[in-house]
Amino acid sequence: MRIKYLIFNVVFLLLFLASCQTETNTTSTVLEEVDGKIKLPILGEKEVVNGKTVYHTIPNFSFINQDSMLVTNATFKDQIYVVDFFFTSCPTICPKVKRQMLRLYDKFEKEPRLKFLSHSIDIKYDTPDRLKKFGAKLGIKSDRWHLVTGEEDEIFEIADDYFIAAHHDDDAPGGFDHSGRLILVDKDRMVRGFCEGTEPESVTRFMDDIQMLLDEM
């Protein structure tokens, strides 16, 4: 009787641990081995065109930042960057995500090859001027962390390319529904990692991913 009970407990514990394992896999990156080196994977659908593998890449974009300067793909030439979507008066997840973005910003303070790109999805309210005030109150420098606005369609479309959901939702507090994910993009415009920007532990793991991508450069 006692042994049966013990076996049941052990099996239950193993099942429990296994479920934890799959749980963490959704928020941490699974590594790949390429040419004998451990690397972050290239995320997204791949296609084979004329015998060559074509990976998902971030298309051309053009937005305006808090200094009213144009921000394009060229802004991040030979650099990697972390992406998120927010709006300045977001009452729910954004403040949590901004706290975590700031952790990354501080952690990689001396790393010129890493930049940050936050897209506002409330283009009516978040003018470049408002974004500038927001950035100043947050205490960030615009050459390292771009807060951008632009055409609404283009912002929602590029969210899709970063595998982030962002759309209008009158039932959501503030009028927008969006995910709090942070996305890591490499110098070749490919998505290489992500984490949940609302979860400090997920962001801590993400720091290792960022370092790994920097080491690859």
């Binding site: 300045t88 008066s89 009452p91 729910t92 997840i93 403040p95 949590k96 901004k98 706290r99 700031l102 309210y125 005030k133 927001f134 100043a136 109150k137 947050l138 205490g139 507090p173 503030g174 009028g175």
Partner: protein, 138 residues
Amino acid sequence: MKCKLSLLLFTILLLAIACTHNPFAQGKLLYENQCAGCHGQDGEGFRDLYPPLTNSTNFKADPYNTACIIVNGLEGPMVINDKTYDQRMFAISGLTDVQITNILNYIAYNWNAEIELPLKNEIVKERLLKCAEDPKVY
């Protein structure tokens, strides 16, 4: 049997300790769900964006006014502890006057020591009636 009984007693003891340590448990829960995102888990605020609720000159001057800020939101610059904050806060809907009283008491008890406790539900109700017609920020 003995083991089960002692476990039960231990649990009750733990609960009792947990409860005596926080007289405004409902307020804590509501604060953490509704307010902590911006104002911080410990009411510390966030950089110069969101004002702190700890030792807040504004809160101490008139804690009941915060009930109206919660239900109506707030827009425009505001000076708190000699610093200007200018971040739009949306109205928070769906809270009852009792829940708001609990939140105010949690903020007062934990971070604004000079306030005489508890803050009264009747006064919160009165204030909410007065500011019900004021414009809301959404």
